[in-house]
């Protein structure tokens, strides 16, 4: 809240004039702040007496749940490309919206984004909101948050889904705080009950336990989702799907941060997208044995994945690490060789369709996550598999 120090205020009314939201008014011998105040702080800069200040305020108490409806997906784009996690957010958003019997919208923030918006309309969204300004060409926290706030206030969604990417993880808490509502990070399961009450499940304590979290009295309910955890949306165009443009005021586009330079990281070969993965763990005792597992992966037309210890001892690149501190994978086939099945590993393979585990210890926890458990020595099984595949 903006606070007026009435003993300093000379009633010059400069603030009333500069407020872009007409939120300041003179009432008799007092300046009062109205509900339309958006805390843009322009008045603070203009007050000659320093009579205005910003109070770090209180949580807006409970929201009227009936005012909110629908699912909003925040698209993640950089330049003219859409991050594929966006399609997963839309896929999940569509499912939740259908169950609740409500609408699915998405918002695209950036510059020259018309093509992206048209493209997203083909994936089952009812409405795509475009916030398109040159000032938004690069991700800057303040104007991006303003854009998200604007669309949230306009459509009052019940649920907002964002990507658990670095950008999503920096914007989501900013938006949740501005709206004074709940946010749950890195959800692995999202469902609705009683209409659009969002039930969120996420790993806690590094995956050792799962927590089920709800936001009973505040709206919208915000959640972030990691890439590759949910199914991507299918192509379908809703009959009245269309793009709507959203305007921001000049001061909503301002920022105290300037992106001086942006360098794309070289695209790394990613196991996140692999359909077949053969993964090696510490049961693979030498680099020669690792080469053997890599050969099996190549013969199957797949990629090599590893557990963290193999990255730590320098045998494999970090980009191949599967797990909570590595990548989440969703292959059609995953074969694990000499992997014990620590939760930090298994938490990131739940999307694998078929899991085959090779381990010499029949009590290894990995077998609980495997459809086919092969109790045996990988140094015998893997060479035999390679021989067999070479014959095919």
């Amino acid at each position: 809240m903006i606070k007026v120090n009435h003993s300093l205020c000379t009633l010059c009314e400069i603030c009333v004039g500069v407020c872009p939201f007409s939120a300041l008014m003179r009432e008799d011998d007092k300046i009062v702040v109205l509900d339309t105040c958006r805390l843009c702080k322009i008045c603070l800069k203009h007050c000659p007496e320093n009579a205005l200040s910003l109070e770090v305020t209180a949580s807006r108490s409970e929201h009227n749940l009936a005012d909110y409806s629908g699912v909003l997906v925040v698209a993640e784009c950089s330049g003219d490309s859409v991050h594929p996690v966006t399609y997963e957010l839309i896929g999940k958003g569509r499912e939740l919206a259908d169950k609740a019997g409500e609408k699915l919208s998405c918002v695209v923030i950036g510059h020259d984004i018309a093509d992206i918006c048209d493209q997203l309309l083909e994936y089952g969204v009812d409405r795509c909101y475009a916030v398109d300004y040159p000032e938004l060409a690069q991700m800057r926290v303040e104007p991006y948050t303003n854009a998200l706030e604007e669309v949230s206030l306009k459509i009052k969604p019940s649920i907002v889904l964002l990507a658990a990417t670095p950008t999503g993880r920096t914007l989501a808490p900013r938006l949740a705080t501005r709206l004074r509502t709940g946010l749950t990070a890195d959800c692995t399961t999202l469902e609705v009950r009683n209409g659009s009450e969002l039930v969120q499940i996420r790993p806690a304590f590094g995956g050792n336990i799962m927590a089920q979290i709800v936001t009973p009295k505040h709206r919208p309910q915000l959640a972030t989702m990691r890439y590759k955890v949910m199914e991507p949306a299918v192509k379908e165009r809703k009959p009245d799907a269309r793009v709507e443009t959203l305007q921001l005021l000049a001061n909503q586009l301002e920022s105290k941060a300037q992106v001086v330079k942006s360098r794309r990281k070289p695209p790394e070969e990613s196991i996140s997208d692999a359909e077949i993965i053969v993964a090696a763990g510490r049961g693979v005792r030498s680099e020669q044995s690792l080469a053997m597992v890599a050969e099996l992966a190549a013969l199957l037309g797949g990629q090599l994945g590893v557990t963290r210890p193999l990255v730590e001892n320098g045998w494999a690149d970090y980009t191949r690490q599967i797990g909570l501190s590595g990548r989440t994978v969703r292959p059609k086939l995953l074969i694990t060789c000499g992997i014990s099945g620590a939760v930090q590993f298994t938490a990131s393979i739940t999307g694998a369709e078929t899991v085959v585990a090779i381990n010499s210890d029949e009590n290894a926890p990995i077998f609980k996550n495997a459809h086919y458990g092969l109790v045996g020595d990988l140094n015998e099984i893997v060479p035999a598999l390679i021989d067999g595949l070479r014959e095919v």
Binding site: A185, A204, S262, G376
Partner: protein, 268 residues
């Protein structure tokens, strides 16, 4: 320059389990440490202080035992420490935590820069830093991997945005969250330990903060609620195969060919 660093005491290990019957978290006698990312945040602040002068304050919300992490920060070089401790703060989610810390930072006053670790090892959300910045209505940058310049008016830094590395200029006052790339934290100094043994730690409770309404803090001030905790699910329809290496390999090859993973790729 005045820098405030937010630090948190966390359990040393994440090896916790759930009692399947009662749904209660089993966490016996685990040691507590400073959240690893916060060591890097403090290191970044201390380096800026060495370069530009000024002072470094640390602030934490937690039970009285959390004084230990403030003492640790003193041993690394922090000048002042504040502990926000009150029963009313317990059970806070990230919003209520950000609110409480923002109240504390507001009361300390005059911070040019606030530094947080990227995330904590017990929460893993990375939400509190940006939340504090929003409460204070100042800019923030997350995932900062290097500070490459500092002037009287702001910082030049490198942030990791996932697909790109960005050079960003941001004006004071601002908040940053740092990754481990920012630079190895220094070791605790024994000399500093002796020197700082009688440094006071400032304790603040609800009544000391600008906003005293207790429904804004802790569990009551938290929009999110944990309904239940449980062990990660396991695979139910599984087969265990035993036999010699070549038998197992043969059996797997024929299964993979049934599933059309070999002998003609699967297309679906």
């Amino acid at each position: 320059m005045h820098i405030v660093v937010c630090i948190k005491q966390v359990p040393e290990t994440r090896d916790v389990a759930v009692d399947e019957e009662t749904g209660v978290l089993l966490r016996d006698g685990v040691k507590s440490i400073m959240n690893p990312f916060d060591l890097y945040a403090l290191e970044a602040a201390l380096r800026l202080k060495e370069e530009r002068g000024g002072s470094v304050s640390v602030i934490s919300m937690g039970p009285p035992q959390a004084e230990a992490v403030i003492r640790e920060a003193y041993m690394m070089g922090a000048d002042r420490g504040y502990l926000l401790t009150d029963r009313a703060f317990a059970g806070a989610d990230t919003l209520a935590t950000a609110f409480t810390l923002a109240q504390g930072i507001d009361k300390i006053g005059e911070a040019d820069l606030i530094v947080c670790g990227l995330q904590t090892t017990d929460g893993d959300t990375a939400q509190v830093g940006p939340g504090i910045a929003e409460m204070l209505r100042i800019p923030h940058e997350s995932n900062v991997i290097a500070i490459t310049g500092v002037t009287d008016s702001g910082l030049r830094l490198e942030r990791d945005s996932g697909d790109s590395l960005d050079t960003v200029d941001v004006a004071f006052p601002c908040l940053i969250t740092v990754t481990k790339a920012i630079g190895e934290p220094r070791l605790l100094s024994f000399r500093r330990k002796l020197e700082t043994a009688d440094y006071p730690v400032v304790y603040w409770s609800l009544g000391d903060l600008g906003e005293n309404e207790d429904s804004l803090y802790g569990l009551k001030g938290s929009p999110t609620q944990v309904e239940r905790i449980f062990s990660p699910p396991t695979q139910s329809d599984q087969e265990m195969w035993r036999g010699s290496g070549s038998e197992l390999a043969q059996r797997l090859l024929s299964k993979l060919s049934d599933l059309r993973f070999v002998g003609g790729m699967r297309h679906d």
